[in-house]
Symmetry: C2
Subunit: 296 residues, 2 copies
DNA sequence: TGTTATCATCATCAAAAGCTTATGGTATAT
DNA sequence: ATATACCATAAGCTTTTGATGATGATAACA
């Protein structure tokens, strides 16, 4: 196996370029014997002469020419690596791997878009999934950051709230409760609620509300997506509890109504989450502080 | 400037491939702390973490992935360089730069062809020129070897005779001297000779012959090429003195006759020549000994 | 012919590179 | 809860590396 050193190669490159040991020595701020020694060692390593001296002049041997070729390629690659890495050090380049729960998909893209405008060279990989799959990705270290409505229990996690997550009760615009002010919790007794599936953060919060207000509601209908809940509510099949963020558009256009129920909106938060001890890339770090600035 | 070592890179490559410090240590016959230290130094050099540890597992950071990419390219180039150089060490590859004086062009190609048959991978650059230009190339170190009829005077040269160079007097087939046996030197008195230009080795030898045999000949016609001399002689314009090697074909077909003159053929030699202290490539060395074997 | 430019060699020294062993911390698995 | 698998860190040692300055040899140059 060839055991060269970068030092040897770069000295060699200089000598080959200048076709002079002395010039190379000057260029590298060395004495001439130092250069001679490096070249000698290199030649011993390789087992072939690289230069030949005829009179005052030196020439590259065939082997020297070949090595010069490779040493330039290698130097080139090193330079390139250096520049890529130093870009990575700053914020000029890099990739942000982030996953968000599907509910967050209603606002996360805008946030990312704003971030990308500030850092145009950055690549983003945004994953949308249900809570479970996002947590798995986090655990498998496939992503740098995640956005969740409820930080997971595991101690291995750091979670930062960065935005309010207002849960509201929505109804179709034709619902009798629509536009009624100050609806008491008890009025919800026996109402039909379209819910997300078991395990969703929103659902947990809703159930906590119902039990703490001692209200029994009918929760037979389970939808696996927020969109399905909205559709069902809009069709008048019952009431829904959702993040305000996910229904902004429908409320604005009057297709859905937000009910003014006692104890609502339930104010929760969106959390930016990453594994503890995770060494965030500078990009991820930047996005994190970008989001946390939003918190104020 | 990035100051990496190949050691660091190769250890890094192993760790990145195994995604384990301990496996890499085994693979490289090192202890695990040794690996840790190499990686740590590498990370310090670069200024970025290359791995992150989450629990038992380690992962490449973004920077690590980039560096892995480059380290593989560089390793690849090194391997390639290694193989090219080791081929150069043997006789599998390489280039032979040789120049011959134009006269030698009548036999040099055959010699080269035979040599190439034995070493098919070798590239040959054959240059044909007059003596002056060949000597200049030798001096400028543009060629490894040269073939000359007369070794130059300079002390800076090594010359090896390897083949007889018989100078003969030729005449057109209709010449009255043709086929006469044992022509005395005096018979040449006042004959017209077609000669090569001043400075050619052949001409020098011829003039030496004439003066030592006290013969005056007419040497008005100077030709700059051997071919021109042959044509002129064939046309009956006079006699010529040339290397036997250059007229073999014409003698065989009867177009030219070799005269049986006293003191002829003048036996000289073809010389293989290179600069003193020249570090011959293994190919050149091989060709040299190939030619010298011909000498026997 | 002497002067100059250029590379090789030698003796010597300081710095660093590179290891190993021992030990410690932490997350995972049992 | 304990054991295990991993990596980090520290101390100490040897070897290698990289340089320097002095000196020498040789070929080109003037």
């Amino acid at each position: 196996m060839l055991h060269l050193t970068f030092r040897q190669l770069s000295v060699f490159e200089s000598v080959a370029r200048n076709l002079s040991f002395s010039r190379a020595a000057e260029e590298m701020h060395l004495t001439q014997p130092a250069v001679s020694m490096q070249i000698k060692q290199l030649e011993e390593n390789i087992g072939l002469p690289l230069f030949e001296q005829l009179g005052k002049k030196i020439f590259l041997t065939e082997a020297g020419k070949e090595l010069y070729h490779y040493s330039r390629i290698i130097a080139q690659q090193l330079l390139e690596a250096e520049s890529v890495l130093s870009e990575l050090k700053g914020l000029e380049r890099g990739k942000l791997n982030i996953s968000v729960v599907s509910t967050a998909n209603y606002f996360a893209p805008q946030l990312l878009a704003r971030f990308c405008t500030d850092h145009p060279q950055i690549k983003v990989s945004l994953n949308v999934g249900n809570r479970e799959s996002v947590l798995k990705q986090l655990h498998d270290n496939e992503i740098d950051l995640a956005i969740l409505g409820t930080p997971p229990e595991g101690i291995d996690i750091e979670a930062y709230p960065f935005m309010e997550n207002r849960l509201v009760i929505i109804a179709a615009s034709g619902n009798p409760l629509a536009d009624k002010p100050a609806i008491p919790a008890s009025r919800l007794q026996n109402e039909i609620f379209i819910m997300r599936e078991q395990g969703s953060g929103t659902r947990l919060a809703a159930e906590k509300y119902f039990s703490s207000h001692s209200v029994q509601v009918k929760t037979g209908m389970e939808m696996s997506t927020t969109e399905a809940v909205k559709q069902a509510v809009q069709a008048g099949m019952g009431l829904g509890i959702l993040s305000l963020d996910t229904v902004l558009l429908e409320v604005e256009t009057g297709r859905l109504k937000v009910l003014d129920v006692e104890g609502f909106p339930i104010i929760r938060h969106w959390y930016l989450v990453h594994r503890q001890n995770k060494r965030l890339s500078s990009v991820a770090e930047a996005f994190k502080s970008f989001l946390l600035r939003q918190a104020q």
